[in-house]
């Protein structure tokens, strides 16, 4: 099952990269990600919530949940 699960993550990433490349060279077919994000971030609650999630990802991966290791 591990490989299936990792496979889904890889597939999502590969699709995202594919869409990014397509949007870069064919913006008339798919609008670039930055355009969509700028539209979404036009609302202050969206902006706060998305920034919060991004902050939390950093906190989760590179900060620390309690208990904090004492060096």
């Amino acid at each position: 099952m591990e490989h299936v699960c990792i496979g889904i993550y890889v597939l999502i990433m590969a699709t995202a990269v594919g869409v990014l490349i397509l949007a870069k060279f064919r913006p008339q077919i798919i609008a670039p990600f930055s355009v969509v994000m700028n539209h979404v971030l036009g609302n202050k609650t969206n902006r706060f919530a998305l920034t919060f999630f991004w902050w939390w990802i950093g906190w989760h991966f590179m900060g620390s949940p309690w208990p904090v290791k004492m060096d």
Binding site: E2, F33, F48, I57, F61, S64, K69
Partner: protein, 184 residues
């Protein structure tokens, strides 16, 4: 006036997130999620929104410098230590100081809608996979069989080069989320 949409999507999502955090006994994270849900509701109040917009205009330059300094310092701080924790706490006020931006009217509506739904589908697929893996792992099944992204990235985070590779895009995207502006 409080708008209904501010009381539905994000607060509901964040409260669900708080519940998921409590499932893995991460109560501090759960409290932070509840706090964020409350701020989402407050941001829908016009008077509160105007106050944040006022602060953002007055303190914009200071916060740009502060953001770059604090996030860059994470490149040199060990993961899971108190200094790293305090660096993230120091960034919290920045998250509250967000202001409304003008939304961009795209010329090609069809391409925009297509792109929006493709990205939404990818985000939902990712979210369901991650949530499913997480729920299976907390039920006691061997967590390596259903790894979350967190578990997969752990070995990378414990090497300086791997961590730097993750931190640099993290800082860049965070800067975009906080300070991006309409260039049209």
């Amino acid at each position: 006036m409080l708008k209904n949409k501010g009381l539905t999507l994000w607060p509901s999502f964040l409260i669900f997130g708080a519940f998921m955090q409590s499932l893995r006994s991460a109560y501090v994270d759960g409290v932070i999620y509840i706090f964020a849900a409350v701020i989402c509701i407050l941001l829908e109040l016009d008077s509160v929104g105007r106050f944040f917009a006022f602060l953002r205009v007055k303190l914009a330059k200071v916060f740009h410098i502060f953001y770059i300094l604090v996030f860059s310092s994470l490149l040199f701080i060990d993961v899971h230590t108190r200094p790293a924790l305090f660096a993230f706490i120091a960034l919290t006020p920045l998250l509250i100081l967000v202001a409304p931006q003008k939304s961009i009217e795209t010329k090609n509506k069809r391409a925009f809608t297509r792109s929006k739904y493709i990205h939404l589908a990818l985000a939902i697929t990712f979210g369901l996979t991650e949530t499913g893996s997480f729920l299976i792992s907390v039920t006691g099944v061997n967590e390596r069989d259903f790894p979350t992204v967190s578990l997969l990235l752990d070995p990378m985070l414990h090497h300086d080069i791997g961590r730097a590779l993750l931190l640099i895009p993290f800082i860049y995207v965070g800067y975009f989320l906080l300070f991006s502006k309409d260039k049209n």
